[in-house]
């Protein structure tokens, strides 16, 4: 444990619960890695069923962390998701909060 920054359990309360769900975290990480992706891509890369993905995409959209649009890609209608600036910030904040806590536990 770091002497100058001891583990403070209270910091865990500050974690964003929308991002903290493993499913939503996977979705956010996938979308953080690409500019935009369709439903199939997210489902494949995050290894999620369509139902689970759909429910969690809705929650992320409601939180303003992702944007969902219906677009025509090569004349085929697709549901396209992309991360918003608020979503990026939420993921960064989550990483900044959780990172030091995990680091402290490892030491």
């Amino acid at each position: 444990m770091k002497e100058d920054h001891p583990l403070d359990p209270r910091e865990i309360s500050g974690l964003d619960r929308v991002v903290h769900s493993p499913t939503r975290l996977k979705i956010m990480l996938v979308l953080m890695s690409v500019e935009e992706a369709d439903f199939t891509f997210i489902s494949r890369t995050a290894d999620l069923t369509r139902g689970n993905l759909s429910a969690n995409l809705t929650k992320l959209e409601e939180a303003g962390y992702i944007k969902i649009e219906k677009k025509f890609i090569e004349r085929i209608p697709k549901t396209i998701a992309s991360i918003t600036p608020a979503g990026k910030k939420a993921l960064e904040d989550y990483s900044s909060t959780l990172g030091p806590i995990l680091d402290s536990l490892r030491k």
Binding site: V30, S33, A37, T40, E92, S96
Partner: protein, 191 residues
């Protein structure tokens, strides 16, 4: 962005890009290009100087038909893309050059033109600069330049290397189709 997160997302992006392009299509068509170049060098039949790079234009429709419905669509980092005007300009110059050289019968320029055509075809084949293409874009010209420079490259070797790449491409393509079967079209439940 914090450093660890940035590194993680960079790694994920690379991994997705590699999977997306691990369908064997590029390998197959690079192999086809080499086989055609080898046959052209062997027979001097003009048709094979074009047969090698023409099918490259099939990559995009094939990706659309087989890869995107299975693996999904994603837009990767735009920074790696080669600017379209540069691709079109370079392609036009080389195409006109090839036509002139081919029909004016200047034998001495044919080999470099075939090499250049293959290199440019690779650039055209890929609108985003991923590893696999970079490797081919470097490998093919070096293969020809060094091979001919050292006088060790025969048309048969070129055909054989091409055939191996085509076989590799087919293998990767079948593996990709097996790994990512077509999912039934369902409603995504999102409005």
């Amino acid at each position: 962005m914090n450093e660890k997160l940035s590194e993680q997302t960079k790694q994920l992006r690379k991994q997705y890009a590699r999977t997306f392009h691990n369908d064997g299509l590029l390998d197959f068509f690079v192999g086809w290009g080499l086989v055609s170049a080898g046959i052209y060098l062997l027979t001097s039949l003009t048709i094979f100087s074009f047969a090698g790079w023409m099918p490259i234009i099939l990559i995009a429709p094939l990706k659309k038909r087989f890869v995107i419905p299975r693996f999904g669509y994603a837009k990767f980092n735009q920074a790696a893309a080669i600017p379209r005007p540069i691709l079109i300009g370079a392609g036009t110059v080389i195409l006109i050059g090839t036509l002139l050289v081919t029909f004016l019968g200047n034998q001495g320029f044919r080999v470099p033109v075939v090499v250049a055509l293959l290199g440019l075809s690779l650039l055209f084949a890929l609108n985003k600069g991923f590893n696999r293409v970079t490797v081919y874009a470097i490998f093919i010209p070096v293969f020809f330049i060094v091979g001919f420079g050292l006088n060790v490259l025969t048309p048969t070797i070129v055909i054989l290397v091409g055939a191996v790449l085509m076989a590799l491409g087919l293998y990767l393509f079948v593996k990709f189709l097996q790994k990512y079967p077509l999912e039934p079209e369902e409603e995504d439940g999102l409005s």
